[in-house]
């Protein structure tokens, strides 16, 4: 579906918030699902996957980091220009029913799906916790927003320039056993959180990233290594079987 750029502004160094107006109104989207998009008539060939940061009626917000050609083109999209969207793709985060305590763990630009989830939990009046870390204060965007959604917000930076001067895994130490971790961030961080969760016996879901070509499950480009139910090694497509997986299913590559 086409979507028109309503606003596109930098929130931090290379971090853009892209607000889109969609017509017809958006279908139902669950937190953890992603949009697959490209600017029309651009020199970018393939779509890029971006987690849904917020969505409501005809409004779609995406939050992304400029890391290469594709995200550079998206950052340059001027108000009024048209993008081409496929959505919602992929499987969302599970929302564990009470008494489980959702603990959202966001590392850097892993924030969008967890921001969207936080809004839904907040709207539903569900208690939850939110851990959010970044390299440095300037990259810890939207912290005020998040504080208003979650009184239990804990912030971390690698350099101590904001929040706690610690790895985000430090926030996992004192979680209750009913905590269910819902994690998105850099692979190394997710891997560390998944290991801590396993150690502590906590439920944990992670949202993986892989380069994608089709987003539809046909190209086999985006596979991750998994442990199947019978303990065998397998492959799953992040675009259709993911991006959210139970962390115990994931076979992490050696670092």
């Amino acid at each position: 579906m086409p979507a028109v750029v309503a606003a596109n502004r930098a929130l931090g160094p290379g971090i853009h918030l892209l607000k889109l107006a969609c017509e017809p109104p958006l279908p139902d989207i669950a937190p953890g699902q992603f949009a697959f998009l490209r600017p029309q008539n651009s020199d970018i060939l393939l779509r890029r996957p971006l987690g849904v940061h917020d969505a409501d009626g005809t409004r779609l917000d995406l939050l992304f980091d400029v890391v290469g050609r594709g995200t550079r083109a998206l950052a340059a999209a001027q108000t009024g220009t048209t993008l081409d969207l496929l959505l919602p793709l992929g499987r969302p985060f599970p929302i564990p029913p009470p008494p489980a305590l959702p603990v959202l763990v966001a590392g850097g630009l892993g924030l969008p799906p967890l921001h969207f989830l936080a809004r839904r939990l907040h709207a539903a009046g569900r208690p939850f916790r939110l851990l959010y870390g970044a390299r440095t204060a300037a990259r810890l965007v939207l912290a005020d927003d998040l504080a208003s959604l979650c009184p239990d917000l804990r912030l971390f930076t690698d350099d101590g320039s904001a929040g706690e001067h610690a790895q985000i895994t430090a926030g996992l130490a004192d979680l209750p056993p009913e905590a269910h971790l819902l994690v998105c961030g850099p692979t190394a961080m997710m891997r560390a959180v998944a290991a801590a969760a396993e150690e502590a016996g906590l439920a944990c879901h992670v949202s993986l990233e892989e380069r994608m070509a089709c987003g539809l499950g046909v190209c086999m480009g985006c596979v991750c290594r998994t442990r199947t139910a019978d303990g065998q090694e397998g492959r799953a497509r992040v675009c259709v079987e993911g991006p959210v997986f139970a962390s115990r299913e994931v076979l992490w590559d050696s670092p």
């Binding site: 050609r69 539809l216 046909v218 086999m220 596979v223």
Partner: protein, 302 residues
Amino acid sequence: MGLALELAGMSLANPVMVASGTCGYGQELAGVMAIETLGAIVTKAITAAPRFGNPTPRLAETPAGMLNAIGLANVGVEAFIADKLPYLRDLAPRVIVNIAGSRIEEYVAVAERLEEATGIDAYELNISCPNVAHGGIAFGADPAAIAAVVGAVKAVIRRPLIVKMSPNVTDIVSTSRAAEDAGADALALINTLIGMAVDVKRRRPVLANITGGLSGPAIRPVGLAMVYKVFAAVGIPIIGLGGIMETEDALAYLMCGARAVQIGTATFVDPSAATRIIAGLSAWCDEQGIDDLQDLVGACHL
């Protein structure tokens, strides 16, 4: 509106197929395109045993193109017949199964097993996948090896055989003739070019496999030139592919000598690309007063 054709003994509603490796086993596309309108579906390459394929990253974007190093990831012939074929069998489009292997014996074994199954209209022999270390490219570049694998597979099948040619050769005419002489019923040109991308920041190849197959609009001029040359040199029908994004591109392949076309990378950019092109061909025939699109095949040859 004049799009129907006979090709290698198959009747097709129209000359537009979705290319191997870009449409899974059909089912994945059902929700996003009108697959019932397609002329044919060409499955992902099937090998004897299931394969995981290469490590990731397996994909990279390049100017007007993309690299893939999937490496024949597939469910294997048994699971294909048990789990994938029943869905395909009931569809309107013809079902063409792309066969790959690391040795001639593997190609033959897969073909023999598929012969026992119903619901398949033809095979496409992938002798040109650049992403498998042993086999693949070796078959695709050497006329004698091509003759051997095509002949061996032909000997065990009754269904039509399409041979998918590698563009990574000095002389596409001699490899194409070798396939024709060994009994191929049709040729598909072209598979991907060998390419590479570098992550300059990391000072490393982008793909874990280092090189991959280049597809997309970037390679269309190469595909058109090869179809043009081979059309003048062989008698069997040619299926043209490589970088077809729009109706015009499909027409260009037909004018160079292709009787049918396959849509690959375009489906990633726009899942309805193939159906849009079918409608576009039909509209173009109306507009130009053409009764049978096949009259246009080879029009570029004076």
